[in-house]
Subunit: 428 residues, 2 copies
């Protein structure tokens, strides 16, 4: 972990900041070709391609009728969890659903003389949720991706997951998702985008995955909708001398343990805090830590402590980085809220630790990474609905605006656009 003193410096020009920013700009061309081939095969050969690639990559030979996990397996997985874990997941699902209800968007209709203009909000019909298999399978992924779709009113929600573990299956059961396919990788994305004989195509694909899954999602975008492509995760903590170094250190580590590419960043006005946090991390928390290898690499490469002159500078840097998670642990955290321009989730105050938000508070943990907070939002109900404009004009309304439409059609040289207005005008 690098400590960089930016006091008195042109802080937005620092080399360390530049490298941090560049971290999310990795090129992945080398896998592009194989992902495209997999997608093409799935599009052309359907189930047969799924069988081949599942055998090749996941080492399982399945018949098409074995893609779907039998409902009893979901039930069994649910019953296999201890009661506390089960209850915790149920609480999480309920709380996340409840928060997302505030995101529900209503249709609207505005009346004007001779017109009704509006917007009809309609949930998507069918959505697919990708859940990674093996080690990286997190029940919270299922909760966070399923809840907004369910609140939006999506009728058919399916899961694709290679070798799904019992947590994935149990959480599917909790969320009321009965259609779970044990397939993964780019081939699962292809199946959801194009459809096969066994798997009906979806309208939107969401959920995290490895580089193959991410590239496949990017490639099928347009055919179907996708959520944003998740890059490596990041946390940025803004703290002053009122912050508890143990708490800050734990929160930084909770990001670093995710992924070698994760970035944990502390920006502080306190030299003392900077020293203590680093000391606690390396001399206490990382000793005998279960995910030491991952966390150490992450901290070595992307862990940074920036010491700055004042909180304004810290916020400025944070806005430049546009972090996925932003914790503000300062004397009056609410005073900073207004100045935050780009962040996936903003955690205010010392008790608002990221893991609470990751699991159980209610807001979504699927957040824009790699500076995408400049232009995208947490996963939400708005990701699972679409809108249709509704236009009704009667003769009265027509008369009020027709001449402007004719004038613009003329300017654009679109004769038939003008004609559509003129033939009606004859009638009046």
């Amino acid at each position: 972990m690098k400590t960089v003193d930016l006091r008195g410096k042109n802080y937005l020009k620092s080399r360390e900041l530049e490298l941090l920013i560049k971290r999310s700009e990795m090129e992945v061309e080398q896998f592009e070709e194989s992902v495209k081939n997999i997608l093409k095969d799935v599009k052309e050969k359907g189930d047969e391609a799924i069988i081949q690639y599942t055998e090749k990559f996941d080492g399982v030979r399945l018949k098409p009728e074995e893609f779907l996990v039998p409902f009893e397996e979901l039930e069994k997985a649910y019953e296999s969890l201890d009661e506390d874990t089960r209850f915790a997941l149920e609480v999480a699902f309920e709380r996340v659903k409840k928060f997302h209800e505030a995101q529900i968007e209503k249709s609207f209709f505005v009346e004007e003389e001779g017109m009704i203009l509006g917007q009809k909000v309609i949930p998507m019909e069918r959505a697919g949720l990708y859940v990674p298999g093996g080690k990286a399978a997190y029940p919270s992924t299922v909760v966070m991706n399923a809840a907004p779709a369910i609140v939006a009113g999506v009728k058919e929600l399916i899961i694709c997951s290679p070798n799904p573990n019992r947590y994935t299956l149990a959480t599917a059961y909790i969320c009321g998702i009965g259609e779970v396919y044990r397939i993964g990788g780019a081939q699962a994305i292809g199946a959801m985008a194009y459809g096969t004989k066994t798997i009906k195509k979806v309208d939107k694909i969401v959920g995290p995955g490895n580089i193959f899954v991410a590239l496949a999602k990017k490639n099928v975008y347009g055919y179907v909708d996708i959520d944003s492509i998740a890059g490596p995760s990041e946390i940025l903590v803004i703290a002053d001398d009122t912050a508890n170094p143990e708490w800050v250190a734990a929160d930084l580590l909770s990001q670093a343990e995710h992924d070698e590419l994760a970035a944990s960043i502390l920006i502080t006005t306190s030299e003392k805090l900077a020293k203590e946090v680093k000391n606690i991390l390396y001399n206490r928390y990382l000793v005998n830590f279960s995910r030491e290898d991952i966390a150490k690499k992450s901290l070595e490469n992307y862990g940074h402590i920036f010491i700055v002159d004042n909180i304004e500078t810290a916020i400025d840097i944070s806005n430049y980085i546009a972090p996925e998670h932003l914790e503000i642990i300062i004397k009056d955290p609410f005073s900073a809220l207004e100045k935050i321009k780009h962040a996936g989730a903003i955690f205010l105050g010392e008790y608002s630790t990221e893991p609470l938000g990751d699991y159980v508070l209610g807001p979504n943990h699927v957040l824009p990474t790699g500076r995408a907070a400049r232009f995208s939002s947490p996963l939400g109900v708005y990701d699972f609905i679409k809108r249709s404009s509704v236009i009704y004009v009667n003769q009265e309304g027509f008369k009020r605006v027709e001449k402007y439409a004719r004038k613009i059609a003329e300017a654009e040289g679109l004769e038939a656009h003008k004609l559509g207005v003129e033939v009606r005008l004859k009638n009046i």
Copy 2:
């Protein structure tokens, strides 16, 4: 234009429908390589690459300081328009802005014991609008793309357009956009996505363009946000025997004149209407029509009249096609509204002709094409804002949920996530 009688048939399985659907699935691999090279050049060489490609493709050699159109040119273009056209565009801009105000999304904050959970809505900082040059430059494009961004509160809105014509410049002036660059193609998309010395990078790129522009947008997606990739345009008219064949024919033609790939589709219960519409199109409207070549090709390849048993079937087919524009010209058009599942814009009743919606009513004319209405929306204010989750938990709130977070962290094997909770628990 093909007339297909689907009465008594398994209509969703008709070959004609299948071919219509496939029309939007064209592969464009052959341009992928050159677009990627252009983007790479712009990323690496900045302005220099812009100069080279603008010379190569647009035949103009510009210095970097000539990229920006001087403000006086915008003003002059505005003054060059006749008063009626100017006023029509101003009315359009005002009406479109007003409609979009109904889409404004507010931040929300929900209080619970020991917690405040919410969502902060923030406009994007800087957006780029691509406007095609030459023939395909439509002032309405500027209005429809600029208005939602302006209503959303985007501070910096720029336009890139190769050889922008006076309508583009005048409409930029009307919309209050002072930053217009005379560059286009994939190189303009690259400049907006990566930034150059002269052109500051944006957070989102919107607007139509040729295949190079579309591919470039798809390639930079992730770096910056983009609107959906527009495919060829389509109109679907559902009409019964109450519809005026002249009006229906004009509306179909107004789509066909756009583009050889545009699809104009009539679904009707009336054999008589089917015959009359076709007759009027070919024997009256297409005679001496300014855009005859384009329209004829479009109608020949993608123009269809489907005769069906009843309006329910017509709606069913329409939902399958998920058309960009849907006109419903039947006795009680409102009765159909509830059954429409997928359509970009729904025009109800005989006076609600598409050209009015294209130009002046208020709803956006940038609409999902090629079945994308299954999962996407008209361009709107929601495309130019993003949301940040806001989380505040005090000790009381923390105590209410901490055990669930610990339990799930255990299930996921994320030790540091649990630690973040436990170190705080010690304090209580």
